[in-house]
């Protein structure tokens, strides 16, 4: 009796399995057309995003182009050790962190101020013009941007002429001094992105119910008070989210811009992880692929942790986060 029951059970289980398998196949069959559409982008992602992740394994090897990625001998954490113990490590890490922190903090308040200010401009024309002008620098290419920086800061450029009006006698070679590098980088970044950064706050401000403002006006609240008690709480969530998500991309210092602004005179404060990888791995006469890949992998890992952490944080403060 028992035996037959077991057999019966088995058949039902296998029938269920068969059914599952069948439905798996039919499901794939059913959306085969979608798979055909999807095959090209999927191939791209696998080849150009996932294969390099496998390629990053050269960080644990001594990469030899002749032997290839798979054939090169393993060396374990040797390259990481070398990087952590090198003189450059502290300097590069310090520059990366300082530059990121500086951009994050200095770049945060101005877009909010701009959005609040635009929100209290009643002349539509003036508002439109202000938006058009402040958004525009966002579309300037990084090469042209750095070109403009060099021109404005030239020892004979307009900034020095303006400074001389205020009694600064010596011409300052801004790009030639390491001490100025970070400020130039951050302030020019604000110049380029303040307008674009304020778009999201403007949208949040239009989301605030006008009834709140009407009630406050009736109660005799001044504009400053309305900003303080209505507008700022209204955009607080957006601001926190922006700040947290920016923290997620903390280590992605504008690599292309830093690279262009870098010169032998300011290298001590302009060498960040990304430019270091580029200089060690691709520029030098003896490219140290494995060493550079190890540094790059170190950065990717830290960045990954930061993104996960910031996203968790975003969820904690009641936002949806990225996913």
């Amino acid at each position: 009796m028992n035996v037959t029951r077991v057999v019966a059970d088995k058949t039902t289980i296998s029938e269920v399995k068969l059914k599952n398998k069948k439905s798996f196949l039919t499901k794939i069959k059913k959306s085969w057309q979608l798979y055909v559409l999807f095959i090209l982008p999927l191939t791209y992602i696998l080849v150009f995003q996932y294969y390099p992740m496998y390629g990053a394994s050269i960080a644990f090897k001594n990469f030899d182009p002749v032997l290839g990625i798979g054939g090169s001998p393993w060396v374990g954490f040797e390259h990481f050790k070398k990087f952590f113990e090198s003189y450059d490590f502290v300097r590069v890490l310090k520059n990366t962190l300082l530059l990121s922190l500086y951009s994050l903090i200095a770049g945060f308040p101005l877009p909010i101020l701009l959005a609040l200010s635009l929100n209290y401009v009643y002349s539509k024309r003036f508002k439109k013009a202000a938006q058009l002008i402040t958004y525009a620098p966002h579309f300037i290419s990084v090469v042209v941007m750095v070109g403009i920086i060099f021109m404005i800061l030239d020892p004979r450029g307009p900034l020095n002429s303006i400074l001389s009006l205020f009694g600064v006698k010596e011409e300052i070679n801004f790009m030639g001094e390491a001490g100025y590098f970070k400020s130039i980088y951050v302030l020019s970044g604000i110049w380029q992105n303040v307008g674009f950064g304020c778009i999201i706050y403007l949208a949040a401000l239009t989301g605030i119910s006008p009834e709140l403002h009407e009630a406050a006006i009736v109660d005799g609240a001044s504009k400053i008070r309305r900003i303080w008690h209505i507008d700022i709480p209204g955009i607080m969530q957006t601001a926190v989210l922006v700040l947290i998500l920016n923290m997620g991309s903390f280590l992605d210092t504008g690599f292309e811009k830093v690279l262009l602004m870098q010169n032998p005179l300011n290298i001590s404060s302009s060498q960040v992880i990304d430019t270091y990888v580029y200089n060690v791995g691709l520029v030098s006469a003896l490219p140290q692929y494995s060493y550079a890949a190890a540094i790059g992998l170190f950065k990717s890992l830290v960045a990954f942790i930061l993104i996960i952490a910031s996203n968790k944080l975003a969820k904690k403060v009641g936002q949806d986060g990225l996913w």
């Binding site: 499901k27 959306s31 057309q33 798979y35 559409l37 999807f38 090209l40 982008p41 999927l42 992602i45 150009f48 996932y50 294969y51 390099p52 992740m53 496998y54 390629g55 990053a56 701009l114 209290y120 401009v121 013009a129 202000a130 058009l132 002008i133 402040t134 958004y135 620098p137 579309f139 300037i140 290419s141 090469v143 042209v144 070109g147 403009i148 021109m151 404005i152 004979r156 110049w191 778009i199 949208a203 009407e214 001044s222 504009k223 400053i224 690599f255 262009l260 990304d274 990888v277 791995g281 691709l282 890949a293 790059g296 992998l297 990717s300 960045a303 990954f304 986060g321 990225l322 996913w323």
Partner: protein, 297 residues
């Protein structure tokens, strides 16, 4: 806020301060741009001696004339147009091919593929492995090096997918399927015509990206005849290396140095022209794109 209640003194002061603050901000954004345009319209002497600070001094078009004769720049312009047009076309096609299946609820394995895509936004192999891959594929020093490795941006896939989900109702698909329409036909005949706004947004994102990028060209291209405009700009604006033979008949050294300075200003204007001319017309699309992107995918 249409209510008209007489403003108090404090509010009037606030409004005045607000306008002053905003004007100052707008002027400080505008000033560098005006300076560059003014300098590009000045004489070499005025530029070299630093006389220009707001308006053109000794109006002259010499800078622009020099650019017209500087053949490298036009070669770069042509190359950049090629990379932008071909690159954007490839980008948009691939983005739609990825976004449409991902937007369909009945796409088996959607969650897994979505994870596969989003994960690449958080983690990547890094510069060196990517470079080695591109070089193994034999793309180095070919035009394809600027098109294939950057053929798809996952961020744009996500905003396109959200758009499809929000605008293509499921009923439309069902009724089309009842009429015997397959997925290819549905995408081509129904989804695409409904998606003009999102195609405009992502095309703009991709096109500006191609026009403005230099780094791919810097690491993958060796042959100067393939260089995009931004790489040539880098040589002139950042590395300060101008081909003296290209500067025409300015024989004296002093003249050449002055001309080299002037050239930079007019070059910035000429190279940014396409983007800046298109910009006021497409501004709203960019704003739209930022808004779609800031919503959850």
């Amino acid at each position: 806020m249409n209510i008209k209640i007489a403003e108090t003194r404090g509010d009037r002061i606030f409004t005045v301060c607000n306008y002053i603050f905003l004007s100052l901000l707008v002027l400080s954004v505008l000033y560098p741009l005006i300076y560059v345009v003014s300098a590009s319209l000045s004489s070499t002497k005025a530029v070299a001696s630093g006389q220009v600070w707001l308006f053109p001094v000794d109006f002259s078009l010499l800078g622009y004339k020099t650019i017209f004769e500087y053949s490298k720049i036009w070669l770069g312009y042509g190359n950049s147009l090629f990379y932008m047009i071909v690159g954007t076309t490839v980008n948009v096609i691939l983005t739609i091919l990825a976004a449409y299946p991902l937007s369909r609820k009945d796409f088996y394995g959607r969650g897994f593929f979505m994870f596969l895509f989003v994960f690449t936004m958080m983690f990547n192999g890094g510069l060196i492995p990517t470079y080695l891959l591109v070089s193994d594929l034999g793309l180095v020093n070919t035009r394809w090096a600027l098109i294939i490795p950057s053929a798809l941006s996952v961020f744009n896939v996500i905003i396109t997918m959200s758009f499809f989900r929000a605008t293509i109702p499921n009923e439309l698909l069902e009724s089309a399927q009842l009429d015997g329409c397959n997925d290819f036909k549905f995408l081509l005949k129904i989804v695409l015509p409904l998606s003009a706004p999102i195609i405009a947004v992502i095309s703009l994102f991709y096109a500006v990206g191609h026009w403005n990028s230099y780094f791919g060209a810097l690491i993958y291209l060796r042959d100067a005849s393939l260089f995009p405009l931004q790489l040539i700009l880098r040589d002139i604006l950042v590395q300060n290396s101008v081909d003296p033979a290209m500067l025409g008949d300015a024989t004296q050294l002093a003249n050449k140095i002055g001309l080299q300075q002037l050239l930079k200003y007019s070059l910035i204007v000429v190279s940014s022209l396409p983007v800046l001319i298109a910009y006021p017309f497409v501004q709203k699309y960019f704003v739209k794109g930022v808004m779609i992107g800031s919503l959850k995918g």
